[in-house]
C-alpha cells in the first residue's frame, strides 16, 4: 500500500473529496511525513542542535579563535567549576533572586490585584477597555525604548522621577538611581512598568471566564465580597496565576535587554544577572566554553523552577478533577 488514505466511507466531509473525480482525495504517504517532519526539523535545527552544541563546548576550552580554527580541548567540568566558584556568578544569583522576588513575583501580584480591581469595581465596559489599553501600552514598546526612556526618567540630577518625588516632598535629596546597590532596583522598576500588563491580561481573562452563576450562588448564600474573593475567586484562578508566574519566570531567565541598556550590569557588576554574564563572557569576551557553561547552569536552574510550577499546576487541577 503506497497510499495512506484509501477509505472512501461517506462519513468523510465534503472538502475531503476530490470534486472532479468524486473520489476521496488521495494523500500521498510523504504528505503527513512532510507536515510533521518539517516543523520537527526546524525545531531540531534551532533548539536541539544548539543546545547539544552548547553542552559540548561547555566541556571544552573553546574561545573565539579556537572555535574558528577548530582547536579546543576537552577539559571536563572545569568551566562549570569556574562559573560556580566565581564571586561574579554567586553575586548574580543573589541579583536573580532579588529580580525574581521583586520583579517577576511583584509583577504577578500587582497584575492580579489590578485585574481583579478592574473587574470588580469598573462596571462600564468602555471604561474597562480604555483602562486595559492604557495598561497594555508599555508592553508594546521595544525594550530598547523602555530602557532609554527609564534612563531619562531616572536621571539623578534632573530626571522626572526625582523631580516629582522632590516636589511631593517624599525625598529631600536626589536619589542616585544608578549607583551600586540601587541600579538593580531601577531596572526592576522599569521592568515592572514594562511587563505588569502581562499577568494583568492573563488574570483578567481568567476572571472573565469564571462562571457567573457561581457568583450569584455565592451572593444568595450570603457571602460578602471579600469572602468570595478569598474563598472562591482566588482558588479558582490558581492555575491561571501559576501560568502568569511561569511566563514571567521564563522571561526572567532571558532578561538581558534592560540590564544592557540601562546599566550594562554596572556599576561594578552590581546589577548583573546570570544571563547577562553569559552574554558578556561569550559575545563580548569570546570565552565560548565558559559562556556555554553559564547557559547550561541557567538552563538547569530554570528547568527546576518551571518543573515545580508545572507540578503545582497539575496538583491544583487534579484537586479540582480537571486532570
Amino acid at each position: 500500500m503506497n497510499q495512506t488514505v484509501r477509505d472512501s466511507s461517506p462519513s468523510q466531509p465534503a472538502w475531503f473529496r476530490n470534486k472532479r473525480t468524486a473520489r476521496p482525495l488521495i494523500v500521498a504517504r510523504w504528505v503527513p511525513v512532510a507536515l510533521v517532519g518539517l516543523p520537527v526539523a526546524v525545531l531540531l535545527a534551532i533548539v536541539i542542535y544548539p543546545t547539544i552544541w552548547m553542552f559540548y563546548h561547555s566541556l571544552r576550552d573553546t574561545n573565539i579563535q579556537g572555535l574558528f580554527m577548530g582547536s579546543h580541548e576537552y577539559i571536563g567540568f572545569q568551566n562549570y567549576a569556574t562559573v560556580i566558584g566565581s564571586d561574579r556568578f554567586q553575586q548574580s544569583l543573589i541579583h536573580l533572586v532579588q529580580y525574581l522576588t521583586f520583579g517577576a513575583c511583584l509583577q504577578v501580584l500587582i497584575g492580579t490585584v489590578l485585574a481583579l480591581t478592574l473587574y470588580e469595581f469598573v462596571k462600564s465596559n468602555a471604561l474597562r477597555t480604555a483602562i486595559l489599553i492604557i495598561l497594555v501600552l508599555p508592553m508594546m514598546l521595544p525594550p530598547s525604548i523602555v530602557g532609554v526612556l527609564w534612563r531619562f526618567l531616572l536621571t539623578p540630577s534632573n530626571g522626572a522621577v526625582n523631580q516629582a518625588l522632590l516636589n511631593i516632598g517624599l525625598i529631600k535629596n536626589h536619589i542616585e538611581w544608578f549607583n551600586a546597590g540601587v541600579s538593580l532596583w531601577s531596572i526592576i522598576i522599569a521592568d515592572i512598568w514594562n511587563w505588569v500588563a502581562l499577568p494583568l491580561l492573563i488574570v483578567y481573562s481568567g476572571r472573565v471566564s469564571l462562571p457567573p452563576a457561581v457568583y450569584e450562588a455565592a451572593r444568595v448564600d450570603g457571602a460578602g465580597q471579600w469572602k468570595v474573593m478569598r474563598r472562591i475567586t482566588l482558588p479558582m484562578l490558581k492555575e491561571v496565576i501559576a501560568i502568569a508566574f511561569i511566563l514571567r519566570f521564563t522571561d526572567a531567565f532571558k532578561f538581558v535587554d534592560l540590564v544592557y541598556i540601562m546599566t550594562s550590569g554596572g556599576p561594578a557588576q552590581s546589577s548583573e544577572l546570570p544571563t547577562y554574564i553569559a552574554f558578556q563572557r561569550g559575545i563580548r569576551e569570546f570565552a565560548i566554553g565558559e559562556a556555554a557553561a553559564y547557559a547550561i547552569v541557567i538552563f538547569a536552574i530554570s528547568a527546576v523552577i518551571i518543573t515545580l510550577f508545572l507540578k503545582y499546576m497539575k496538583r491544583v487541577m487534579k484537586a479540582q478533577g480537571l486532570a
Binding site: 450569584e216 448564600d221 450570603g222 457571602a223 460578602g224 472562591i232 478533577g321 480537571l322
Partner: protein, 366 residues
C-alpha cells in the same frame, strides 16, 4: 418559613429602542409552606420574576414582601432566600462537603455544627457517599442533589428552584420529582419552582402560576387549570396533546343554545351554565375548545361526527386526527382501536367539557 407576595411587579431591561418589558404588573401571593410552580414557555418572564424574588435582579417598579416585610431593595444575602440554579452553580474548587457547608461557613457557624448539619442534609438527599468528591467528578443528578442540599442547609424562609431538572434524563427526573415532593412534605418550606415543563409543575406544586408574554395568565391548582382555564393560552398550554379550538357561531333558539363550528357541519353543545353565560353576553361568535381526552368513541348523547385522517398508535392510547369539512381536530381512543383512513367516527363528549372563550379578549366565558 414565610409567606411571599408580589405586588404590581415590573421588570424592564434596557432603554430606548432595545427596551424589553420582561415582567408586567405581576401579582402573586404564595402562602406559608406552599409549593408554587411558575410555569410558562421560554422567554415569558418567569426566570426574571424569580431572580427579582431572590434579589439577583433589581425591580423596576412594584414591591415584594416576605411575611409583610418589604424586601424589594434588599441584597440577596439579606433576604434569607436560598436558590438552586439551573446550571447547579456549585463551587468547582470545593468538595461536596465544603459546598454544602459554605452557606453556614459564611454565617460563622462553628465547624462541629457545620459537620453534623452536612451529614444530616447529605442523609436526606442520599449523597453521603460523595462528600469528598469535587463537583466535576459527579454526574448531573448528583450535582443536582448537592445544589439542592446547599440551598436547603441553612433553613431559608423561601426556597427557590430555577429549572433544576431541565438537564436531567427522564428516568432521573422522575426520581427527583418524587424526592422533591418528599422534601417539601418533610421540611414544609415555602417553595417556588420555575419550569417550562407542565408535567413537572403539575406533579409537584400545590398551585401553578402560568405566565406568558411577561404577564401572569392564571394561578390555580391542577383541576382549575385543566378544566377551567382562564383564557385560550392556558387552555392551549396546559394538557398534552393540546386542546382543539374551533371558531364557532352562537345559534340560540328558545329551547337551546348550540355552537356551529365554521367551515364544517360540527355542532358543539355547551353545558347549561356556559349557555346561560352566553345568553347574557350575547356574542355572535366564540372560540370553542375541547380537549382530545374528552372526545371518545362512545355512545354519549352528544357527539361530533367526523372522518379519520390519521390513526397514530402512541403506546398506551391511540390518537385520532379527524376531519369534518375543512376542520381538523384530534381525539383519543383506546390503543387497540382499528380504524382506517376515511372511516366515519362518532366522538362523544360531555357538555361540561366544552370550553368557550371570547374571540376578542380570549377570556373564558362561564
Amino acid at each position: 418559613m414565610s409567606q411571599v407576595s408580589l405586588r404590581e411587579v415590573n421588570k424592564i431591561y434596557g432603554e430606548g429602542a432595545g427596551r424589553v418589558h420582561a415582567v408586567q404588573d405581576l401579582n402573586l401571593e404564595i402562602g406559608d409552606g406552599e409549593f408554587v410552580a411558575l410555569l410558562g414557555p421560554s422567554g415569558c418572564g418567569k426566570t426574571s420574576t424569580l431572580r427579582m424574588i431572590v434579589g439577583l435582579e433589581t425591580i423596576t417598579s412594584g414591591d415584594i414582601f416576605f411575611d409583610g416585610r418589604n424586601i424589594s431593595r434588599l441584597e440577596p444575602q439579606d433576604r434569607n432566600v436560598a436558590m438552586a440554579f439551573e446550571t447547579y452553580a456549585l463551587y468547582p474548587n470545593f468538595t461536596v462537603e465544603e459546598n454544602l457547608a459554605f452557606p453556614l461557613e459564611v454565617r460563622g457557624v462553628v465547624e462541629a455544627t457545620r459537620r453534623s448539619k452536612v451529614r444530616e442534609i447529605a442523609e436526606i438527599l442520599r449523597i453521603s457517599d460523595i462528600l469528598g468528591s469535587h463537583p466535576s467528578e459527579l454526574s448531573g443528578g448528583q450535582q443536582q442533589r448537592v445544589s439542592l442540599g446547599r440551598a436547603l442547609i441553612r433553613e431559608p424562609s423561601v426556597f427557590i428552584l430555577d429549572e433544576v431538572m431541565s438537564h436531567l434524563d427522564a428516568h432521573l427526573k422522575f426520581r427527583m420529582l418524587f424526592d422533591l415532593k418528599r422534601l417539601h412534605r418533610e421540611l414544609k418550606r415555602t417553595m417556588v419552582y420555575v419550569t417550562h415543563d407542565q408535567v413537572e409543575a403539575l406533579a409537584l406544586a400545590d398551585r401553578v402560576a402560568v405566565m406568558s408574554n411577561a404577564r401572569m395568565q392564571q394561578v390555580g391548582d391542577r383541576n382549575t387549570l385543566y378544566n377551567r382555564p382562564a383564557n385560550v393560552f392556558v387552555a392551549d398550554f396546559i394538557g398534552e396533546p393540546p386542546t382543539n379550538f374551533f371558531r364557532a357561531r352562537v345559534v340560540a333558539d328558545d329551547s337551546r343554545l348550540t355552537l356551529a363550528v365554521e367551515d364544517s357541519d360540527l355542532v358543539l353543545v355547551p353545558d347549561e351554565g356556559t349557555a346561560a353565560a352566553l345568553k347574557r353576553s350575547e356574542p355572535k361568535s366564540v372560540i370553542a375548545g375541547i380537549r382530545p381526552q374528552n372526545l371518545n368513541l362512545s355512545d354519549k348523547p352528544v357527539a361530533l361526527n367526523a372522518r379519520v385522517a390519521i390513526n397514530e398508535y402512541l403506546g398506551e392510547r391511540s390518537m385520532l386526527t379527524v376531519y369534518n369539512g375543512s376542520i381538523r381536530f384530534r381525539a383519543l381512543a383506546p390503543p387497540e382501536t382499528r380504524i382506517s383512513r376515511g372511516e366515519a367516527v362518532r366522538l362523544g363528549y360531555d357538555p361540561a367539557n366544552v370550553m368557550v372563550f371570547d374571540p376578542e379578549t380570549e377570556l373564558l366565558i362561564s
